[in-house]
């Protein structure tokens, strides 16, 4: 367990303000925030690269706030991987094994084991200059994992990769987590956060704004940053099914949504932006594939328009103009037809 207690740190004109959160064993904990929110500084404080001005960091009950970097039991993977360019992949991987009592054979065995696990066995003799971004990130992961850290700290590990590599690396991270590794991962990408996290903390301007499960954070956004994409408002755990080349996301309560995605079948989340929901007072023929009827439960001003909440077997939120609200005579209790284009339904794999 990793616990941060009111960590504060001034860093030039920026400061971390009483940052507290707890990463439980086995968590995939994501620290989500825009760039400049102080995410990397939090990781560096945990790893021991910067010393906090006040507060405490506890790892498995032990105060490590002022411990030496190598005594903390943490392992860090840097943004842009930070692979040593003058050493081979094998030398990079074994860098942390220096000075340990284990013999040469044992070290070699460890290097080949970790290389096998990460699918980089063929690269061991190569110099980093000849590797692709995805390969470099694998080497970086391997170099850190070989230390067998109690907690893995990842600083924007996917930000420098293109979309297909991102997916591949996400799978890899998920499998590392699946093998029981506790992970604290910093990112500005909410999709990455939802895709991987068991817990999310939102950080902004050096402060933790909110933390909880992905569902808690997205359903009750406490920050502009979250609200902007959670302004989406429609967020459901779902199971993706493919039937005759058509995709359906099955949501709890027997509801299901038609959608377009190339993701494989499996568990994940469905997101629909409030502004992508179309309303009508009578059933109409549209190109939308998803039709529901629902009862207005609430109607409140939001983001320059009106946010209308429906009970349609699931809770749906639509963002419309005040004029539309008036035209459709929307009041709490009104029955309404709801239309959602399949293309407006976004699925994020877990």
């Amino acid at each position: 367990m990793l616990e941060l207690r009111e960590i504060s740190k001034r860093f030039g004109s920026f400061s971390l303000k009483e940052v507290s959160f707890t990463v439980m064993p086995g968590d995939y904990f994501i620290l989500l925030g825009e760039s400049g929110a102080g995410k990397s500084l939090v990781l560096e404080a945990i790893a021991g690269l910067v010393e906090p001005d006040s507060g405490a960091i506890l790892h498995d009950g032990r105060d490590i706030t002022r411990d030496k970097i190598q005594d903390r039991g943490t392992g860090m993977v840097f943004q842009d991987h930070a692979i040593f360019p003058h050493l081979t992949v094998a030398e990079n991987l074994s860098y942390s094994l220096h000075g340990r009592p284990s013999g040469r054979k044992e070290k070699q065995a460890k290097v080949s084991a970790i290389a096998g696990e990460l699918g980089i066995s063929e690269l061991l003799g190569r110099k980093p200059g000849t590797l692709s971004g995805g390969e470099l990130q694998r080497v970086a992961l391997g170099r850190t994992l070989i230390q067998e850290p109690g907690i893995l700290l990842l600083d924007e590990p996917l930000s420098s990769l293109d979309t297909s590599l991102k997916k591949e690396l996400r799978r890899l991270l998920r499998s590392i987590h699946g093998r029981g590794k506790t992970i604290l991962h910093v990112t500005h990408d909410y999709e990455e956060a939802l895709s991987l996290a068991t817990r999310i903390a939102v950080i902004g301007e050096g402060r933790i704004i909110q933390w909880g499960t992905p569902a808690e954070v997205l359903h009750h956004p406490k920050s502009e940053f979250i609200a902007r994409f959670a302004g989406i408002s429609n967020f459901f755990p779902a199971r993706l099914l493919r039937k005759d080349s058509a995709c359906h996301a099955v949501i709890g309560g027997g509801n299901s949504l038609r959608l377009l995605t190339e993701e494989p079948e499996g568990e994940g989340y469905v997101l629909i932006r409030g502004e992508d929901i179309l309303l009508s007072s009578a059933p109409v023929e549209t190109s939308a594939s998803n039709h529901f009827t629902g009862k207005v439960t609430e109607i409140v001003p939001a983001r320059g328009g009106m946010e209308v909440t429906f009970d349609a077997g699931m809770e749906l939120h639509a963002l419309i103009t005040p004029e539309s609200a008036e035209k459709l005579h929307l009041l709490p209790g009104t029955e309404c037809h709801i239309h959602v284009k399949a293309a407006a339904v976004k699925f994020i794999n877990r």
Partner: protein, 261 residues
């Protein structure tokens, strides 16, 4: 090609000519047989070995402290850093004969350093040790500045990564910072060595004897005239050039596969 570029090309050629013409003239005016003859002279050979030896010793000896200083300058912010940087460049901007006078005062038998030297039987004045000090004094800025640029080019991120992998600061310096700045450091070492070898003004104040080649050239010119100073000059230039080409080549070879960051 535009007219302006032609003008620039013309001006550039003039400069190249300005550098090459005197050297070429000297080489053409000196028969190869005279150069070989001079190379056979005991006095000349001795002076060349002495020049190479003292400059090399000074370079290697002072590098031990100059490289860590360069690292500090590249990585740390501290009060009066600009002044420290200025002090390091001092030897380049002051007249070298004046530098020689200053060093002479610093290492003479009356000075503290001179007395410490004397107590272990080392006299700087008129001794290769004095020559080494004088050469190092005028040439050390080249090494410090080159090494500092080299260290500044090593991403801090790589050093941090090494620290998180459990390396001590000393190990990080030796296995990450030093190898990645190596190219610049070697180039600084070569420059310092070359600058030391060619020093005349500061050395001649501290030690006329034993005689290094630049002083020998001056002595032959003073005693016998231009014609007698030429063969030893040509010989010394050839040896210097050969050395630097070899050193550069070795440094490049060592670099091997290009370092990418």
């Amino acid at each position: 090609m535009g007219r302006l570029q032609l003008v620039f090309l013309f001006l550039g050629s003039l400069i190249l000519l300005f550098i090459l013409a005197p050297l070429a003239g000297m080489f053409l005016d000196t028969p190869a047989s005279r150069v070989f003859e001079t190379a056979g002279e005991e006095e000349v050979r001795h002076s060349i070995w002495l020049t190479i030896g003292t400059s090399l010793t000074g370079t290697l000896l002072f590098a031990v402290a100059a490289i860590p200083l360069a690292y500090l300058l590249a990585r740390k912010q501290f009060p009066f850093k600009k002044i420290v940087t200025g002090i390091i460049d001092l030897p380049v901007v002051i007249p070298h004969s004046a530098a020689g006078i200053a060093i002479l005062g610093f290492v003479s038998r009356d000075s503290i350093l001179g007395q410490i030297g004397s107590s272990v039987g080392l006299d700087f004045v008129g001794h290769p040790a004095g020559i080494t000090v004088a050469m190092a004094f005028v040439s050390i800025p080249f090494l410090i500045n080159a090494a500092r640029d080299g260290f500044a080019g090593v991403p801090v991120r790589l050093e941090k990564a090494a620290l998180t992998l459990g390396a001590s600061p000393l190990r990080v310096f030796c296995t990450i910072s030093l190898p990645l700045a190596w190219r610049n450091i070697v180039s600084g070492l070569v420059l310092m060595f070359a600058r030391g070898m060619s020093e005349f003004g500061a050395v001649v104040m501290v030690a006329y004897h034993p005689i290094i080649t630049p002083v020998l050239i001056y002595e032959r010119f003073g005693a016998f005239g231009l014609k007698y100073a030429r063969p030893v000059s040509v010989l010394f230039i050839l040896i210097s050039l050969t050395l630097f080409i070899i050193l550069r080549w070795v440094a490049k070879e060592r670099e091997g596969d290009k370092v990418t960051r």
